[in-house]
Amino acid sequence: MTAVGRSRLAPADWRPSCPVATLRERGRLLAEIRGFFAARDVLEVQTPALGRRTVLDPALDSIATRDGRYLQTSPEYHMKRLLAAGAPSIYQIGPAFRDGEAGRWHNPEFTILEWYRVGFDAPALMAEVAALVDSLLGHAPYGSVACADLLRERFGIDIDNTEALIELGSTLGLDEPTLDEALDLALAEALSSRAESRVFVTGFPAALAALARVGDEGSAERFELIVEGVEVANGYHELTDAAELAARMEADVERRRVLGKTGPAPDEALLAAHQHGLPDCAGVAMGLDRLLMLKVGATSLAEVMAFSWDRA
């Protein structure tokens, strides 16, 4: 846990961090989202916030409880078990937890909207994401750019040019960056300076596939939606191959070990669900608090949360 949580609250901080008007906006947003999915016959589900396993991605840290369970960083694993058990297209709105992520655009506890569409691929789901965002924030045009083009246009660097990427990472202020770090920083920097207000990023390198399937051309079938420079959604044409899932989990365990991070064993229930058979589907997670920020023109998450991390 971060030290922030242990500090004492000043008496004046009993008040909510957002105004009452924003509570109304949040209530409306939730109602609109439920209406959107009801009209499309997507079923609302609820899965546990606490599980005995959690994500192994070395970039995500879960909050553990005393009895060795973990607050889920997203409902992904439980929702995929529902899909494997025969659930139709499903969505969920609920809390997600990521240790140490606190800042203007981050809160260790936040509200996630995650949904899975059986039979969809990435482009079909991107179209639905755009339709939802249009209905919540109003219509705007959507751009689309592949990671490689993003780097070429912004920095004139080839995504396969390891040396140039690492040098760019140093230029962006990081001491002795690794290739992964340099790539993350370069993509973030390139995105924050794009002119379009809404842009889908596609063509992620296989190393950043997470649980997306990797296409024939070697890039991941993964997309992110950036609205006004901020990531609001991250989606995959989901990996269904159980053997490939097992291999990626083992690779993540190894990457965690190298970083000196402890963590749970790979989620055997998720693996068993894949062995039973995950239907061909696409899924996406959306940060609802960020969406609300953009809707009301707030400059920090605290302004749209009833009680932000420093007041909870």
Binding site: G100, A102, R104, H106, E181, L191, L208
Partner: protein, 190 residues
Amino acid sequence: MANYSTNEFRPGLKVMLEGDPCSILDSEFVKPGKGQAFTRVKLRNLITGRVWDRTYRSGESLPAADVLETEMEFLYDDGEFWHFMKTDGSFEQVAASASTVGDAKDWLLAQEACSVTLWNNEPISVTPPNFVELAVARTDPGLRGDTAQGGVKPAELATGATVRVPLFIEIGDVLRVDTRSGEYVSRVKS
């Protein structure tokens, strides 16, 4: 001294970087996509005044800098060093070089208070009060009746600094001056 971790970074925090004390101006947590988390920091080097941009991995830390901003009274300058005394009753004195005092020397009058930044008890910068009152030592004769024209002329103050003043200002007048802009504010006493 202690170390500060990235999650403790906030504006005003004094840290050591490349051997120099720095003040954090801005700190932002960034986490692109599903990648690693970084903290982007803007720092002012307190020695050179230059602003640096740095990026740290989450959990990295910087050593704290023993930097203290303290109110002191300016005593005198001996041509090489400017001498200041603590106003906390300790009568402790420090001497600052001309380069440390910098432009602040234009506004320092003996027995007046100013702010001195100490690093490991050595002065690294001197900040005069935002407003000072100084007498005019030299200026061209005032032109009566011309006040409505809004004309200006140079006037040399007791500290040697030159400011642009209205035409009616005369030698011996005490002026209020904004030290941040170096501009005349008003005449306090004629």
